[in-house]
Amino acid sequence: MVFRRKMRQAGTGSFAAGGPEAQPATPIYSAIERNIAWIENLVGHSADLVIRAVESPSSQNRVLILAYMDGLTDQTTINHHIVQAIQQQAIMGTTDNMDDWLTLLQRAIVSSGSIHSCAYLEHAVHAMLDGMCVIFVDQAGVALVAEASGGEQRGVEEPSTQGVLRGPQRSFTENIRTNASLVRRIIHSPDLRYEERLIGRRTRTRVGLLFMHGIIDDRILQTVRNRLAAIDIDGVLESGYIEEYIQEKTFTPFPTLMNTERPDAAAGALLEGQFAIMVDGTPFVLLGPVTFHKFFQSPEDYYQRFDIATFLRLIRYGGFVMSMLLPAVYIAVTTFHQETLPTLLLISLLGQREGIPLPALAEAFLMEMTFEVLREAGARMPRAIGPAISIVGALVLGQAAVQAGLVSPAMIIIVAFTAISNFVMPQLNIAIAARLIRFALMLAAGALGFFGIFAGILVIAVHVTSLKSFGVPYMAPLAPFVPASMRDTLLRSPLRSMRKRPVVLHPQDKERRPREEE
């Protein structure tokens, strides 16, 4: 608190605490030194602020001062298109009238991508922090803001978390404009709309909303616009921040927004009537509204033959169910309902458990937790140590635990299969939901056997049917059942037969193509 009060007193205004849309209060002074002093004071004489004076031959007496942030700007643009242009310009004619000269400066002299004038120092500073070059002119009372952004950026690379065997191999990057362009390179349509706003009082992060005009349902669009506008937050570091703020329900393990780093996935979603939200600084783009089934669909489904794609989809659903239920079923069977197993299998299982000191529930919990730790370690540790972890994990914890008589070999198989089946989901966040639910179901199975699992599934079913994503029921098109959407839910029918867009998203243009063309 003390710190904050100090900040407020020390600042030259309420600038830092103001939101992205805060009203500017300081008009640009006509004396150029005052402007520079104001800015330098505001950024606290930061070392990366570059102040450079230039003189123009076209107007002898005037001093121009450029202010920009080093590293956010592109040196070539500043050198060639702004500094040199101003210094060397002599042919275009001169004028003593200030307004005329400013127009001349904008139109004929500075040759960077875009340039506009601004009247407030706050605006100038924001522009400067966005990577623009601010040009102050003595006695002008306005400043010119020239586009000069650049600096080091990661290039477009292969997707690292959502790979496909067949399909485009490029991923979104940290630059929001690059990301928007990656989608535009796929959908060459004027109906592809891109709206941008700033979110975050301090980070002033660019957040872009992409949608297909004429396809997306207006109510969905309005809802997402309203929810984005309502966000009031200090900083946005990743699209996860936006996701938490605009989702319908916070207390649920199930994600109601999808994220992707694949431009083709985003383009496909837009064409189905979803929207995409891009956040500057992260390659993960949010897609919504989503239903449960979207998390089991990979863009690759549509690049492969429909039969194999259908098969893979069913495998994914199976994997989801397995990764939720398998350990719970094992616990229920070994502790409560041994009679359900065929006798030989039962003898083999119980033979393995002979001499195991732990009850099945504890055994399963121990091994599942071990795996979760391994997995988290695998995600966090430095890459160079990777092989060490796999040795420790596979040999020491698996093999040795069995040989030491701590856990039964069957349990290792169960844990391993559960873990592997958790990875078949193309979307990581639904897999996480399955992981969390797995532990709850294991407890339920340990307490009440199959009835516990049954009760657990009932609760989950009631919960998921009550979820909505931007007004779209989460379990659609299964509940409410939409027969027309069955072609692309559990199955993936041939592309020719999928003539309609998903009904549950209420697209304005209901059909992908008119019937006549068939």
Partner: protein, 372 residues
């Protein structure tokens, strides 16, 4: 729509939702018991006769819904019998539905105790299942109906699989159903009426509270009739199947004849002891029935008091759970249900709605007179 209606059903109930709800509701736990087992090998004919009678009940209810248009059962009672009379009647119905729900909770406990959880105290199972029902009902009508819809494929698939397994294991034999109608139709009728109207067919009366929210009221009538026809067929077939597998004499002796039949399934030394899974499927039906009754009671209460559905659900849940302990013993529970209740339940299921229908028709004629 008012805010309260929004909570009860924010979206209209689609025709598939209605159909699956009626089917699963009517199935409930019915396959578990062999109803009208005193009719011996003719029990399945009693089921068919009961279904025919049930269809007539359904027709009465549907025509009442049709003449009353945009009203649900509470509103019909209020507008026909006045504020006090209708209110009292509605309270009575809320209590009846809550009682039916309570019976299912109790059945749940008993059944779990008798099959898959012999060592767990009954109240644990009952508490858990009431809590889940409360959770579902508090989420509103849409969620309950959607959940039913979500489970329908599993239930349908399970029963089909079991039927298939019966035949693969070569269990059903037609001779166990003979002689057909050895004591004439009278004996069959005697066991079918009114017991089989009261349970399970007449219980469809509860949908008087939900038809109003159907998406297309006209089609809802057809959908309801179709669903009822399908489920009647199913229940009759299940009854016949069970009888043809274990025979009438044995069926009279055991608590859960259907489970006995399922235990006989034995395929390829691997698929055996399926009774646990079948029990879970039956539980699902039971849960549907109990939560639909709960929901009905909830809707009436919410309408009468003006409280939100969530509040009502939270009040009703503990009541239903608590009331299930009022019965002193399981014997009493079965006696009350299978001996007393089935003799009289048809009054609230058919007679009262029929009277209301007559009153409505009179009132309509009167107002038509006046306006002309």
């Amino acid at each position: 729509m008012s805010g309260r209606d929004d909570f009860i059903a924010a979206e209209p109930i689609g025709k598939i939702q209605l159909m699956t709800a009626i089917i699963l509701f009517e199935i409930g736990s019915t396959p578990m018991f062999l109803l009208a087992r005193d009719a011996g090998q003719n029990a399945w004919i009693s089921m068919a006769v009961g279904a025919a009678a049930g269809t007539i009940v359904l027709l009465v209810l549907l025509s009442l819904q049709r003449v009353s248009g945009e009203q649900d059962w509470t509103e019909m009672l209020l507008s026909r019998l006045g504020k006090w009379g209708g209110g009292a009647m509605a309270v009575l119905y809320a209590l009846i539905f809550a009682y039916e729900s309570m019976r299912n909770v109790r059945d749940f406990g008993a059944m779990a105790n008798g099959t898959i959880l012999p060592q767990t105290p009954m109240w644990v199972v009952m508490l858990i299942i009431s809590a889940i029902a409360c959770y579902a009902v508090a989420k509103g009508m849409n969620v309950v109906f959607r959940t039913i819809e979500l489970f329908f494929p599993f239930v349908a698939l399970s029963y089909c699989t079991v039927a298939l397994f019966f035949f693969i294991s070569d269990l059903p034999h037609a001779y166990r159903l003979r002689p057909v109608l050895d004591q004439g139709l009278g004996q069959v009728l005697k066991h079918a009426l009114p017991e089989l109207i009261s349970f399970p067919y007449g219980q469809v009366v509860v949908f008087l509270l939900f038809w109003k929210y159907a998406k297309e009221p006209r089609r809802a009538i057809r959908v309801s009739l179709t669903a009822f026809g399908l489920v009647s067929l199913f229940l009759t077939a299940m009854s016949a199947l069970t009888l043809s597998i274990i025979g009438a004499d044995f069926a009279k002796l055991v608590a859960y004849p259907f489970l006995e039949a399922v235990q006989l399934i034995h395929i390829a030394d691997f698929l055996e002891r399926l009774d646990i899974f079948v029990t879970l499927v039956i539980f699902l039906g039971l849960f549907v029935k109990l939560s639909v009754f709960y929901l009905a009671s909830n809707v009436i209460m919410s309408r009468l008091t003006g409280w939100s559905g969530r509040t009502c659900a939270i009040i009703l849940g503990p009541l239903i759970f608590g009331a299930s302990f009022l019965e002193p013993s399981q014997t009493f529970h079965i006696w009350l249900g299978l001996k007393v209740q089935v003799k009289y339940a048809w009054i609230y299921q058919v007679v009262v709605p029929f009277l209301i229908l007559v009153l409505t028709l009179f009132a309509k004629r009167k107002s038509a007179h006046r306006s002309s």
